[in-house]
Assembly symmetry: C2
Homo-oligomer: 230 residues x 2
């Protein structure tokens, strides 16, 4: 575990480097009261950094298309992925003034970039916006608490949990097209790529899933997976 995912291992390398800061977005006049009506869409290339840990949190983000990972890297290079954000998800919302995680595009993405101050100022006047901000933070809290419950489980349970989580988001609830690598999954689940890989083969052998190609997973026996979900 100590040297799990050192920076130079797998895709965890930090070579992606800085990409251009987002340009100040055109703050569309808030005709509705929804946070999501403001901001400008912006493309991010695969592996591009969207923001870094400890940078000022000037913007929040909504995924239009693609997938984003947020993560922290410890001193010794261990990387923990905090979350995967898919189309429709909002991320990067902070109450403090700095981002607590880094964020990267996993694949080419289109992302709506929303100026935080605009939303926060609006919240001061519009109760409804304030409540939305609160609800967003709360659902994030819920997600992280679920993540903790995953991290105390066995490898099989973690992988099963992850698959069920992804399946819930998939268009066909039983066919998953993974945008992320085994390394990403491993760093999300606190396992190694080898263990993730082996566990997937076990689940395949026990007929719980099928893995027609490495990024594609079909749930064959939800009951079995749910049982593992303790």
């Amino acid at each position: 575990m100590l040297t799990q995912t050192l920076i130079h291992r797998g895709t965890s390398r930090q070579t992606a480097g800085r990409t251009a800061r987002p340009l100040p977005p055109v703050a569309a006049h808030a005709t509705g009261n929804s946070v999501e009506l403001m901001g400008a869409p912006m493309p991010f290339a695969r592996n591009a950094e969207i923001y870094g840990e400890n940078e000022p949190a000037e913007y929040l983000y909504k995924v239009i298309s693609g997938t984003v990972r947020t993560y922290k890297v410890l001193n010794d290079g261990r990387r923990q992925i905090g979350a995967f954000y898919l189309a429709g998800d909002i991320f990067g919302l902070e109450v403090g003034n700095e981002h607590t995680f880094s964020a990267e595009a996993i694949v080419d993405c289109k992302i709506l970039v929303i100026k935080r101050s605009t939303v926060v100022n609006l919240a001061a006047r519009e109760t409804d916006v304030a409540r939305q901000l609160w609800a967003m933070t709360a659902s994030e809290l819920q997600r992280v608490q679920d993540h903790i419950m995953l991290l105390i489980k066995t490898a099989q349970e973690r992988v099963a949990g992850f698959l069920l989580e992804m399946a819930k988001r998939a268009p066909d609830g039983n066919e998953i097209d993974l945008p992320m690598s085994r390394q990403d999954i491993a760093d999300y689940l606190g396992l190694t790529i080898e263990t993730v890989s082996r566990t997937l083969t076990q689940l395949e052998n026990s007929a719980a899933i099928a893995v027609p190609s490495s990024r594609r997973i079909v749930l064959r026996n939800r009951a079995a997976l749910t049982r593992l979900n303790a």
Copy 2:
């Protein structure tokens, strides 16, 4: 790990059972705009349940004295402690209508019980209260994220992290009086009592800490602990 902390092991047993629901508190008229000015203080005995997972979240709580643990129990009895709340901390605040964890008094406690609807209604009118609610949820989020970073580390790092966390809250920043058992610590850190105990002895042998009595811990070498904190 599978049978870690089965319900019948250690203090994790669920025998404490229901205690009386809190009586409707006297909602002191909110003269200031602070959430903390409302509600009634109420005693809870050691191991008494304050609320249960999935119960309607009618109240939020502020610890006046004592310590509280929140936790979830999985099917097979594994218990994960979500947090310890000490004097001054607020807990049990939900955005949804149900508690997502259970809460128990670790020792005899005095707890301020605040009606949620009162606060939430007030937030709809008072921007400042709304912002306080948001900030509370956000600081909870921060805490849970830090907890995740603990859970991916080695036993030594987890215990060191836990001690530093507790020390930050102690009157004398180097002398910790633990209100909770080894079992509680283990279930917070995702370890077994044996591993927690052994790790403490290791830290003692390496002169990083002293353990004059089992519930009392003195930090002797913060640098060493911080180094472990990666």
